[in-house]
Symmetry: D2
Subunit: 309 residues, 4 copies
């Protein structure tokens, strides 16, 4: 079992996490990104986009349940129509499809070549969700498609995107203007959840800016975070809504709603986990209150590419 092939996950010029892997299952460049699917020894299949871990077989459920389920529990009526920006691997879709009341979900991901590969190579992630009759798959810029949904409104919008590196395909999906489009397409009972970048006391700037920007647009905005072992860090999410508030429920109520609204067995998320992910440490809460800048189309947030760290 090898031991001589390694993926270097660069967090900064002074922090590099090394993961041994035995194989590269797929490796190619699409029009938008450089993709590798490696077989890591510690975490199994691991999807890399531009050198950044997207998710790993071992613990993708932690990320994907945390991204999708707290929102579904927090609105007063269980959603029927959902719009998903990105969400390549199909696991976010898989979690959305748990929603018993769901009638339709549009999944829009710009990178069709990548999606094709995920369909073939990541069955453990998508579990057939790409082919569910409630799903419409579209490959184009998600912001553009959302704007074009003229007479439509949604109960939930999710963004499951790569980080906003300079010139990357997702850079324009973190701005005040984009969040305003989201708001205009949401029902009053609806909510938006965005993947929210690294969130830990030493790396919170991007997350703080997402939150600050959302607060310009939505009355209710909540940060939450979960530790993902294959990321070697806690990861942030941002919830925004007009009315719904995930902090309004205790563990018991969440467990009741899970039973009513979701199908299938959950692995990470339940009432106690809900309490966990929405209660950050005092240090981080203080930092988030005092940090961040408003992201606009003209002043987008740009993270360095992994290869430039």
């Amino acid at each position: 079992m090898s031991g001589w092939l390694w993926f270097k996950d660069r967090f900064s010029s002074s922090e590099i996490h090394n993961h041994a892997f035995s194989k590269i299952l797929r490796s190619f460049n699409t029009n938008y990104q450089e993709i590798q699917l490696i077989d890591s020894i510690s975490f199994g299949k691991m999807l890399l986009i531009d050198g950044d871990v997207q998710s790993s077989l071992f613990d993708e459920y932690i990320y994907h349940e945390s991204l999708v389920l707290p929102g579904l529990m927090s609105c007063s009526c269980s959603p029927t129509k959902v719009f998903l920006c990105g969400g390549g691997e199909g696991a976010t879709l898989r979690e959305i499809l748990r929603c018993k009341t769901l009638e339709s979900v549009i999944k829009c991901d710009i990178d069709q070549e990548a999606i094709q590969m995920y369909m073939e190579e990541l069955p453990e992630w998508h579990q057939g969700s790409f082919f569910d009759p409630r799903v419409t798959l579209i490959h184009m810029d998600a912001r553009k498609l959302l704007e074009e949904q003229e007479d439509q409104s949604f109960d939930a919008i999710y963004t499951d995107l790569t980080e906003p590196v300079n010139g990357g395909p997702s850079q324009m999906l973190y701005s005040k203007e984009f969040f305003s489009i989201c708001k205009s397409k949401l029902n009053p009972n609806g909510f938006l959840v965005a993947q929210g970048s690294l969130l830990r006391i030493n790396t919170f700037e991007m997350h703080a800016s997402i939150i600050k920007t959302m607060k310009e647009v939505f009355p209710i905005v909540r940060s939450y975070a979960v530790y993902v072992p294959s990321f070697d860090t806690t990861w942030g999410f941002a919830f925004a809504s007009l009315e719904a508030d995930p902090l309004a429920f205790d563990a018991q109520e969440i467990n009741l709603r899970i039973q009513k609204r979701l199908s299938g067995k959950l692995r990470y998320y339940d009432g106690i986990a809900h309490q966990h992910i929405f209660s950050l440490g005092k240090d981080l809460r203080e930092k988030l209150n005092s940090s961040g800048s408003i992201i606009t189309d003209h002043l987008p947030f740009s993270l360095k590419k992994k290869s430039d760290l």
Copy 2:
């Protein structure tokens, strides 16, 4: 600023985390361990014992507040007498000294040479706590000293020890026999908190065994965990008592008790953080319920040395 000197934190043969550092401030072997104090670029001063990160200037408060404070909040009467096993750097002591009712604390660490260095080099950690009049410093095997406390009983016992590597100085301080000694030295209102090893869904065996072993001795046992950036992982703690239960209080009650019982400004811990650290994900709770073996003096738990990974 250098960039060519690195500390390799080995998690396993397939997981290595690299931290750049600019200097080794101190490096020596004591009778018990090999110690380096490095100046890491990301986390400032970082204390290594036998290649394992003990704590870092940047985020030691997360670890030390989490180790000490939840216990102090959970018992019905605020403690007056405390026994601390290990706790080298002096920061655990610093947190214990926040307790307004505290009358005396015995800190017993086997490695006097190490302590001498911490006194000199880690003022940000101990903040003078070694020299507080309430403190008695003793350098010998903590288990032996605890046994010898014939007519004494304590409101709190803390173990802040290195991991139980084979033949290491702390291996005999994780067993059922040791926890029984602790119990015999605790007041009915008292509690024990042990540092509880790595705790995450891919590494929980040691923690599960500590918990399982404690349950042989104490009626109330609770796991909790906190993410420490310079460890690149969530870290576990184990709480055990006869009566006191940290799960019995909501955030508001914790905040009230903090105000009554503690002095000084906290950085990480408060009512919300309390809820966070005691609410683990569903996956981890299930694993902890079904894993672990009972640790005894004859069948001690032995982690591999970092240098053997």
Copy 3:
């Protein structure tokens, strides 16, 4: 261009050389070995067997010309019949085929699956040599095949083998018994050249033993070495014969013989390079004189596997 995938070439537990690569072109296990063909950024295609660099597109000519050509120049009559043990990639064969007087060469490599891949993926190495009419390809244990060559004798025998790791397929091709078989199959004018393991002042034990063992069998034995950049080290070769001596010629004579005996353009080897590779430093010559043990079938030399370093 990636930058996050790395091959770790382990020289020892305290020496690791990291090569970035962009792709794994092929990766599979045969009955005998684990093979990867990676596209390294610094050296182009790089063949790894069991974690050990075999050769790289950028500088394979240095290794292969040095292995093959000095022998061809050193015997009094240019060879007509050659036996090659191993030599997987086909580049050793390519160099042998330069010999204008060559009538036949038997290339015997145990690992047919590997050879099949080299035929497909390493055209720059073999340049069609596998298909030259003078070549007979056989896939079995080379020692066995050589023994079976009852009424045959050869002008040259080459061994181009992996290192003798414990239980590996080439371990029995470095012993006194094997070298005696070689001798019995050589014409009086003939010679044997063996790839001779790492050769540098800090790693010479294996080479010293090969040389010492050859001296038990052959009257003339010579060490030589060449620096191969993608190996990050000088590499050794061992020449043995009954009469021929590569030290007997000056640069001019070598250049004349090259012109007479070889076809095609050489890249590394000529008269001056010949002088270079046969003249080791004083330190290394002294070490080789005083080190090494005789390798026998019963006491074979075993290098640690790369993955065990």
Copy 4:
């Protein structure tokens, strides 16, 4: 013995060589450079300047004998007066002092703080040579001092300098103007030897430029190179003179001259080693003939800092 502290020797963004070390013996910044003396596990004490290995206890003799001795053998009369630019550690001086006819040597190194440390920490290198009565130590810019040697001329000038990184202290000691100053201070029988940067088929540009520049000034210019294990590469040197030519002698003549001209026991260098280091491979000789640019004060050669690779 540790195993978790590593020095990363960056050759390029795709080549990093890792050396484990157990201790940093000294670490400080002078006015000119950042210096670390580490205790590497494979090579013993290892001196780093700005992240670049200068020399290691295990094999410094290879570098230093190769730098100094071939020149001393090549001139018709054994030198009496020598000028040394740089040569911090004192080992170059040690080799110069072997010369039986030597009457005086000026050693000029800009970094007095560094020299002070070498005196204390590197006795194995200098072996007291700093304190030999024939030696004059001066701390200033060596080029300036050489220019000021009005009525002086030398039999040998050596430059043993750090690489010419941008703005570094040695950048102006590789130019045509500097070499012209050297020529004007040399006796007709004299020679100049410069440390000549990395020299291997994948990294030869700096060396080629030194050689090309010297050829603008001197009629006889020779490249030579030696493999230094702790550098993980062959290293180049450049010899220049008006008359003397190291290629004019065979191994026997070199051995005779060694006996006549040098005192003490040599470890690496002798007649055979002399032949070795002056005979480069065909590939490298061709590259050096067709590469390089003339270095002038206005167009100096600038290597990237190790920390910027």
